[in-house]
């Protein structure tokens, strides 16, 4: 009887969460799946079942692969620099010195700027003729760089902004990890003669593995979905030289109103992201169990 009442309470408490998940997640995704099998297009005024045609179109579209490739490059570069710079800054802030707290506050500032505002700010700083970056370069007699107007530089410029904005996040997590390391172990390693890079490489990093794995995984998944920096700073251009998957989907859906096709691309991307998340989480769990 008590068990039955407990079970009822359990259902009662979890029901809102189940309902919210159904309404907010399952229904939109299932609607997306449904649309992806149609030629829903507000311009052409069509909306009928077309089977796997949209998926076939996605997988044979070279722009999709270019965007996917750029997306992968984007994730690798951003997460790598986030980690390296974030870890270096965490090591510095893990030491005791005057002004440490102020430095920490300054480091996390970029993270609290709204992404769109940050992107606009950087867009003006990158301006070829009147941007502050080229003005400084000019005063140092360095040739101006066409940051956003050159197909070779556009994506790199966005990457720099993204790294600037999100390294503080990585810094915070890694700093928390460093502060949690047992002081005795570090001290023992120092007594045994480990110092500098050796101490970091052989002692600190192995001990921090569970933490940086989670941080890198979460950042990789988050960066895979990036949209705002690219959209505001380059719009995917010049041409499509800085198009990534999210901007490519946005253009297909909202510029060309091809909802059926866009739903298919979105679902392919969703499968990629879910597969990435599962493999990362699975890896984490397995490693955790082996520890």
């Amino acid at each position: 009887m008590i068990l039955q009442r407990q079970r009822r309470t359990y259902w009662l408490l979890t029901l809102p969460a189940i309902l919210i998940t159904l309404v907010g997640l399952v229904w939109p995704i299932s609607r997306g799946v449904q649309i992806s099998f149609t030629n829903m297009d507000l311009l052409a005024d069509t909306n009928r079942y077309v089977g796997l045609a949209n998926y076939g179109k996605v997988l044979s579209d070279p722009d999709f692969y270019f965007s996917l490739l750029r997306n992968v490059e984007y994730v690798v570069v951003v997460v790598f620099f986030n980690f390296v710079i974030g870890f270096a800054m965490a090591l510095v802030c893990n030491e005791k010195f005057a002004g440490n707290r102020v430095l920490r506050a300054v480091i996390i500032l970029p993270m609290v700027v709204i992404p769109t505002a940050a992107a606009i700010l950087w867009r003006f700083m990158y301006n070829y003729d009147i941007g502050v970056i080229n003005n400084v370069a000019n005063s140092l007699h360095i040739l101006r760089v066409d940051w956003l107007g050159s197909p070779r530089m556009a994506l790199i410029s966005v990457l720099i902004t993204d790294i600037w904005a999100w390294t503080p996040w990585m810094f915070l997590i890694l700093l928390a990890g460093l502060e949690g390391l047992p002081a005795e172990t570090i001290e023992a390693a120092r007594i045994d003669g480990a110092s500098g890079l050796r101490l970091i490489w052989m002692v600190m990093l192995p001990m921090m593995r569970p933490i940086y794995r989670v941080a890198i995984s979460l950042k990789a998944i988050d960066t895979f979905r990036t949209f705002d920096y690219v959209w505001v700073m380059t719009g995917g251009g010049p041409g499509s030289s800085s198009d990534i998957l999210s901007t490519y989907i946005y253009k297909s859906a909202f510029k060309n109103l091809a909802y059926g096709y866009s739903a298919a691309i979105s679902l392919v991307v969703l499968v990629f992201t879910v597969a990435l998340s599962f493999s990362v989480l699975r890896g984490l769990i397995v490693k955790q169990e082996n520890l």
Binding site: L42, L43, A44, D45, R123, F124, Y126, N127, Y128, D129, I130, N138, H141, L143, R144, D146, W147, L148, G149, S150, P151, A154, T234, G235, G237, P238, G239, S240, S241, K251, F254, K255, N256, L257
Partner: protein, 472 residues
Amino acid sequence: MKARKLIPLLSLVVLFVCAGGQIWAGGQNENAAAAATKPVTINVATSLGWITTDGLMPFLKDYLAKQGINVVAVPGQGVALRDKQMLAASSGDATYDVYLAWDALMPLLQKYGEPLDNYLQSAGVDASGFEAKFYPNVVANASADGKLYWIPIHINAQIGYARRDLFMDPNEQAAFKAKYGYDLPQPDSTGVLTFPTKKVFVDVAQFFTRAGSDGQTNLWGYVMAGKWDQGNTVFEEEMFRAGLGYFDEKGHSDWGPAEPQNQPIVKDIATFDYNLINTWKVCSPGVLGMELTEIGQLFATGKAAMSFTWNVDNWPLYKGTDFEKKYGLPLSWIPSFMDRSPKDKGLMSVWAWELNKNSKNKAAAVKFLLAAADENLRIQATQQAKLPVGNGMLDVSQWLVSHNVVPGAYIPAVQTIGTFWPTSPAFPQTDPARDVLRKAHEQLLSGQITPDQFVKQTGDGVEALMHQAGYF
């Protein structure tokens, strides 16, 4: 006994019924009176955070409230505004009594609207007299099949600016004449410059392009928006002025495989744009990362002798500011040197309101639309809410220029420009076709493709798009 008892009872019942009837009837009358005084509510689509609709609405609301009409703004922004209206319109509902559209959306929403001609007649307004208040090309944009569908509320045009101090400087004038053998173009009384040919324009741009002591260009002869949609509209301006549109009558690309005779014209435009940056080097390569705002800033900081984009919007950056004190109020111009014949027109930006054919409050909605085209109300709103441009009405446009609200070239621009709709047949694929152009134009300006490749890529791209849409 029974009857004696029954009579008062019956009397009471009769009295009650009568009184009840009176009460009921009274209630009915009260309801009717209330209904007569209750304002009719109309829902009008507006663009969220946009000065034109945000600025106009309070005046229209006040004006119509006196006529018992309650105007409710239903705001939306960009694609959300488009999609919400399209979904409502295609499902035949009356969420909006009045639709709002811009040039590329107007052909899509037109079939869900109702022509205003009969309503004008019913309201005692002479239709031809009403239309005569607008520039003819504005009426052409607002009409379909000879019937007026739309009431324009925002007519914008791309224009060029030029630094007054440079063009009016006698030393510059003498140096130009010595170098090129003819006079530096001079403005008319309204500050409008005219470049008779492309060569004159390029000569002037080259003349003013100057390098600093470090060898890097510190004054560009010319800058234009190069990025995204605003970069694309520069090409569209030249395309329309060359007498072309995106599509021919059957939906083929206007310079695709079905229309090869137009390919040299497009190549000519593409070569001109390419040369400005890559060959003549009179335009900053950085414009590929710049939209209207950045171009406005570049001109405002004195880094460019001439600029071209939706410059009317940038007027407040210069008028009455430090810029004016330092360089003088900018001169303005239109790129008529790109015209191939007098009938060819540049690009117009039109925003307009339309009556929903399924509206339940058509009479009130028509009153709203007529109020939106009232010159006095418009001028009052312009003065108080700082509306940036006119609505295509002759008197309003003249007032704007004479009161220095817009630059002088606004009038020749509005008089000579067109838009996708009448210039190019109204195919709903205009926006995707523009996207094909945008991508290729950015590749062209950045030197990724040649003018020949641009012609082929865009012609074939638009052709494929229309083929896929089932037009041929």
